[in-house]
């Protein structure tokens, strides 16, 4: 976890043993303590690793070739010790503050690695499937979190991502079934996301409704309206209205031939490629364009923005509506990107995980993507571990994203700071 906000000016070169403020010291000890606990759990797992060799399957569905066999306990021990060193280095201030993010990342990788060695010892772990599934679960989360980033950077809290997902999923299924066109389905899903976003925008920006209230109500509304339309129209004529065509994977020539990561990253549906593009575009727009600067300005200090002539409400509308496109596409993933049919409340809380990813990612597109990938990883790991029969209950793994988010907002791992005017309606005096 990086300590600096990515858009901040790089800190001056840190002096080796600079004097530490008491608050920083408390935080270092607290964060370091948490890191050490994780490192020791990793090491503990290594000690209890039994079963000789852990085999990792590198190509999906191929059980004969492309297997990677490693000595489970040895590798786990190496990773565990490396993790402890990383935690210790942070705790004892052996590396400059600006590198602490890398230490945390190293610890995370070591922990997950040790865990996988422990789980896969004596078994075959489908590593390719793990990453493939991670990307699948993460795609809508990334799109939803990006939508949240756009809204909240402009100062409008969006906890209605779940509702936008549902409506997008429903619309995509309906349009794909009736027109047999994937392009039309995606466009319609994006449009429906914009409609939901418009509701969010009008009620929060024009009618000054509390945005948390509004988010909750919009989720209930989306649940109700998609449920009603599903019960009344879609379900009775399911073969006509609820048979969307699942998007087919498009191989990118050249890139898809890279061993291991090629088939995972570059043999995907158009929606996944759109997600890659969306991450880049949102990052670029927010931090390199005039519109992005204005979005951030109205999210941090609307009055100052107004004073220099920025139309606060107009910028907020534009950001929220643009976010609707992303959330609608994220919703489309559930039906035309994955399941192949709509069912009631099928997004099952993913909109709230996207919200969590946005917060874990500190309101930054790249951070949100990393957090979404982590959440996707945990979700996929849960089903993989069930298949190879590990004693860990899957439900406890499913809790991981939520617990991680609580730990993050409680400031145990770095500080999370929202845009300053996030959630505050702007009223011209």
């Amino acid at each position: 976890m990086s300590e600096t906000t990515p858009d901040a000016v790089p800190a001056a070169a840190p002096k080796p043993q600079a004097i530490e403020a008491p608050a920083d010291r408390t935080r270092r000890l607290r964060v370091g303590g948490v890191m050490l606990v994780f490192a020791l759990i990793g090491l503990g797992l290594a000690v209890f690793t039994k079963g000789g060799k852990a085999t990792f399957q590198l190509v999906s569905g191929d059980l004969q070739n492309n297997l990677l066999g490693i000595p489970a306990q040895f590798t786990a021990l190496v990773l565990g010790i490396l993790g402890v060193i990383a935690a210790g280095a942070y705790l004892l201030r052996r590396v400059p503050q600006s590198y602490s993010g890398y230490l945390a990342a190293l610890l995370g990788i070591c922990f997950i690695g040790a865990f996988l060695c422990w789980a896969a010892a004596g078994k075959t772990f489908p590593l390719a499937n793990q990453f493939q599934g991670t990307l699948n679960f993460a795609t809508p989360l990334i799109l939803g979190a990006l939508a949240g980033v756009m809204c909240e950077r402009a100062g409008v809290i969006n906890i209605a991502i779940e509702g936008q997902f549902l409506v997008g999923a429903f619309t995509a299924a309906l349009v794909s079934s009736t027109t047999n066109s994937s392009a039309a389905a995606l466009i319609a899903a994006a449009a429906s996301g914009v409609v939901m976003a418009w509701l969010l925008a009008v009620f929060s920006i024009k009618y000054l409704v509390n945005q948390v209230v509004l988010g909750v109500v919009l989720v209930v509304f989306a649940t109700g309206i998609t449920g009603f339309l599903f019960d009344q129209f879609m379900q009775p004529q399911a073969e006509k209205l609820n048979t969307p065509e699942v998007l087919s994977a498009v191989k990118i020539p050249g890139l898809a031939d890279i061993p291991f990561i090629g088939p995972i990253l570059f043999n995907q549906t158009i929606l996944v490629y759109l997600t890659y593009i969306a991450v880049a575009v949102v990052t670029f727009v927010l931090f390199q364009t005039r519109w992005g600067l204005r979005i951030r300005a109205v999210g941090e200090h609307p009055k100052a923005a107004d004073t220099v002539g920025i139309k606060v409400k107009r910028i907020r509308y534009s950001a929220v509506l643009a976010a609707g496109v992303l959330a609608g596409l994220g919703g489309a993933f559930f039906t035309v990107g994955y399941a192949g049919s709509f069912s009631k409340e099928m997004t099952a809380g993913n909109g709230f995980i996207a919200l969590a990813a946005l917060i874990m990612g500190r309101w930054h597109p790249i951070g949100a993507m990393v957090a979404a990938l982590f959440f996707g990883f945990a979700t996929q790991l849960q089903s993989q571990l069930q298949i190879i029969q590990t004693p860990i209950p899957g439900e406890l793994l499913l809790m991981a994203p939520y617990l991680a988010t609580i730990i993050a907002v409680a400031g145990l791992v770095g500080r999370v700071r929202a845009p300053k005017a996030d959630g505050e309606p702007y009223v011209t005096e």
Partner: protein, 398 residues
Amino acid sequence: MSTETEVAPAPAPAKEPRGSGLPNWAVQGLVSLSAIVLALLVGAILIIVGDDQVQATVKYFGAAPMDTVSAALSAVGEAYKALAVGAFGSWTAISESLTQATPLICGGLAVSLAFRTGLFNIGAQGQLIMGAILAAYVGFAWHLPPVLHLIVAIVAGLIGGALWGGVVGLLKARTGAHEVIVTIMLNYVAIYLLAWLLTTSTFRRPGRTDPISPIVDANAQYPQIGGTRLHIGFFLALLAAVFVWWLLNRSTIGFELRAVGANADASRTAGMSVGRAYVIAMVVAGALAGLAGTQQVLGTDLPLTDGVAASVGFDAITVALLGRGTPLGTVLAGLLFGALNAGGLQMQLVTQTPLTLTTVLQAVIVLFVAAPALVRSIFRFLPKERGAGAVLAKGWNG
């Protein structure tokens, strides 16, 4: 305490609002009623669009437009009649409405109380589940004499909810972690915890493979009233509302809670412990949601299942919003939504209008209530509230 009137946000008609002779509570009531009317209109549109008869007649709309109109009117009339009959038509219907309202009232109070302290408790769902888990465990695993068993089970439920809520208050007080985020996350933690527990031998009913616990002992069940599904948990819910009213309006702690809710900075300056207020509010709110959990598992469901909370914890938020954070308002809103749920079932049975219509109605009602400016722009005759608008508007950092 002369500051009492300054922080009491609700009915303090010291000065009459400009432009109308009505006190604030009456204006709020009118806005709520208007919102309900508008929501019923939105629902009517959905019913008309979804009606077969209307779809058949609309094909020759040009030739005989009155056919479509009468088909539409009769579709709406029949659906809403079924809704009303299902909600109030008979003693059974009324008892079913009250049964549905019971956990909504308690859950709504959990949200309302936190609301008045300036906290947004989205976590009633999780607190309710934790309450239900503990209450159910005491209910089926322990065997105690009558009365005592019920009381112990209820207390266990209160503790479960209070702990789950207290964590939120503590994190907010100690680290500033925003309660909306923490409560949303804890909801899902509770959902998965329940799912996991129901796979363990402690909770899984012997001989079953689906996630269901043993039935709670008869001694631990809320006594039912007159052979209906209504149980005395309903009266407990009313008592809880009275307690919350007393706590908020007649106790020193409640004064602190409201003061913190009205202005945390000013309260801190005045020497109150804001953190303490957050913890107390969330513990009590959690306990109230836990009580709703006991009503579900000891009153209506009896075994613990993964669907024990249904969507009560989320509906509770809409109930509290409609009730504007006051105990009386919450009770009335809970009764309304309970009636809508019970009536919705009947409507689905009689006119095949999906039950999900009631979800739409509830969302639209609250949406309009939350945006009084919009309601006023539709119903021009409504007077303006004093201090209306973004009363509760507050960001992540607030």
